[in-house]
Symmetry: C2
Subunit: 420 residues, 2 copies
């Protein structure tokens, strides 16, 4: 079965909102053996929406629509859906109770526009909303499936998890699709490609297996995709390719699937009973933010400091004022003193640090924007690595790349992987 994912909303067309819903729905559909081969975005315009519905319904088995179900005057999806399926609105009592409960929980009374959200197309199956007031709708016509959901990502996600995927899993799709992503960092795409060599040596061109290189500022992901007749066959093929890729580029692979570097580092710290603290200057808290995105990080993350001023580098971390005067705040010496300082102060096993020039201002000929020192300290060694990033992605990308490099340094030191 193939699917088209349709997003509705002027805010998407003028570029004000980045659409994360399409990716989430596509990934979930894949897990149920459904491949989305088209994604479309249209505005809150009746004729455009109808056109896109007709086209999608005539070329796809499944249509998933999000957006435009809110309570305000600019939300038009519900009316267009009624027109498309030639039906009218009725009050749904369960949805109305849901609206009332949500407002009762906040100790406030719903307004009429809130209660009106419980009006649904007469001929649909209602998909209740666990986290918001707008219900979703499901239509089945001529063996095809049409899902309509709100645009709020977590409301939509709950409907996909609760309703769409269980429903599709009950239907027979006859094709198993599986993907596995291996995440690398610290190596450029073309060098990784060379390390891996000709893909014909990894799988035969007619095997329904594909390998894609997906570069980003934080690293290159290797995505293995297989289509197969059975789950067993699909998983066996994935595993074989994974093994071969790890044989060729294993040291650069920090995780597979959805796992972030901070999760991989967290697992290593926990397994080795090590604790960590971070002293950040140019990354401004991003390393700590990433580490603490992991539930349970309090087991190994003791504390972080963001020493943005020179003064705070001295009083928070004991960086010698002389070192800052002589070498500058962005220097090997200061990065090392910061990593050592936070390790000593927090009484942890590993201290990491960053100091650099995130830009756009503050660069010089000798120390240009994008120059970063990443410091590392454990009981055996204290050192710092010099990195030079280009400013193409701006200040934020410099911060992200520096934080990534610091986390990767911790991973490689725990695993005793050499730097080149």
């Amino acid at each position: 079965m193939n699917a088209e994912i349709i997003s509705i909303g002027d805010e998407l067309l003028i570029g004000q909102v980045i659409n994360s819903n399409q990716a989430l729905i596509a990934e979930k559909l894949n897990s149920a053996g459904v491949f989305a081969d088209r994604m479309t975005t249209v505005g809150d315009n009746e004729q455009d929406i109808i056109d896109v519905f007709h086209k999608a319904f005539s070329t796809h088995d499944i249509v998933a629509v999000t957006g435009g179900l809110g309570p305000t005057h600019d939300d038009t999806t519900r009316a267009v859906v009624c027109k498309f399926f030639d039906t009218d609105l009725v009050m749904n009592n369960e949805a109305l109770d849901n609206v009332k409960n949500i407002f009762a929980h906040r100790n406030i009374s719903p307004h009429k526009i809130n209660e009106d959200q419980a009006l649904v197309p007469r001929t649909c199956t209602v998909i209740q909303n666990r986290f918001g007031t707008a219900p979703g709708y499901f239509f089945e016509r001529d063996g095809k499936y049409f899902f309509v959901m709100p645009g709020v990502p977590y409301e939509m996600k709950a409907m996909v998890d609760d309703f769409v995927i269980p429903f599709l899993n009950k239907q027979k799709t006859g094709l198993v699709i599986r993907h596995l992503t291996l995440k690398t960092t610290g190596i450029a795409e073309s060098f990784l490609a060379e390390q891996i060599g000709d893909v014909k040596n990894i799988f035969s061109p007619d095997s329904r297996i594909t390998l894609a290189f997906l570069p980003s500022p934080l690293g290159v992901r290797l995505r293995i995709s297989v289509k197969a007749g059975t789950i067993d066959e699909a998983e066996r093929n994935i595993q074989e390719v994974e093994l071969k890729l790890r044989g060729k580029a294993g040291k650069y692979i920090y995780a597979s699937g959805d796992v972030e570097l901070e999760n991989a580092v967290g697992i290593l710290l926990k397994e080795n009973k090590l604790t960590l603290a971070a002293a950040e200057s140019c990354t401004g808290g991003l390393i700590a933010d990433r580490i603490t995105n992991v539930s349970g990080s309090s087991e190994y993350f003791e504390c972080g400091v963001i020493t943005y001023s020179n003064r705070s580098k001295i009083y928070e971390l004991g960086v010698p004022a002389d070192a800052i005067r002589q070498y500058g705040a962005v220097s090997k010496q200061v990065a090392e003193a910061m990593a050592f300082g936070i390790r000593a102060k927090a009484a942890v096993d590993i201290g990491i640090s960053t100091t650099g020039i995130a830009g756009p201002t503050g660069g010089t000929a000798e120390k240009p924007v994008g120059l970063i020192w990443v410091g590392y300290s454990d009981k055996d060694e204290t050192f710092a690595l010099k990195l030079q990033f280009n400013y193409g992605g701006g200040r934020r990308v410099i911060k992200e790349r520096a934080a990534q490099a610091a986390l990767e340094l911790v991973r490689r030191r725990i695993l005793k992987i050499s730097e080149e």
Copy 2:
């Protein structure tokens, strides 16, 4: 002129990558008076790409394509573009020099697959790439414009800024489109709608003005859109509507346009010559990360600490061990002591703090997941606000909402806006 934006890449269709390119291009096109009324995503499949190119070229004046121009075997866009425009590849010397320069800068030699990126369709105008090795292409046919660019966001953005927008600005579009977004936080969508009242009292329905409510976990944005014959008329209409909206809901509006709350707070701190420090527990560095995303934040941001352990709350901030024992780490007393502690230690004007339960674990009946205390301290007052978020968006959204609330608290205290 209308436009269709086309993204190419299997990684988008399986949901592995969130597409931020379409939003960026749409926004830039708008600034040149071009409205993108359709966005489409297809995979790395020749027939699908050709179909989408034909449809887009027959219904739109402008087609902007991104993705699939990389050096590896899964990138197919260039070959399909040659087929669509019935042309072949030639080496472009400027693009080849660019490839060589990029590699020379890294002190490494380009491989053949890197040099081959300088092969371009014979009949196109080449768009050089300032930040990467893959050039873009421009075709003009029958008064319609076709742009092809790489999928790497900052490479694409530079091409849009350097080439696409200057080119379009030279053409006459005859219609001025302007948008203004007013960003609010701390008020629910339906209450904001009530505060604003019937939009007919703000602008007449036939005035080519629209107002949209765009809710997100961090707040509701109000987007004013106008179409007009002249820039003057468009800007006058925007200003009138803005003034009326500010009259009705001004205290909730922290910024307009692209300005983030951390920028708005930064400006207030600078104008009032105030300095800030943050003591974070549940937000884990996110407040500092956001503050330091602003270039020049070192002028007012002295330092931050992430006291993830109870022990570090005591030794870093001087929180009384008794308070933690008696009330728990997630409590009014500890939030206040943290805000006071960081202000005293860093010798700044304002200290803020967060302590809460970001989940998914750690909640109890009395202190459920999503409970957050935000502390504030200046020379006149030290207090904490209690917030309760639902867990719909997960741990990350709890962190984001808590960080937003802390920054908003600083804004309201500097402006002496009362809570409720």
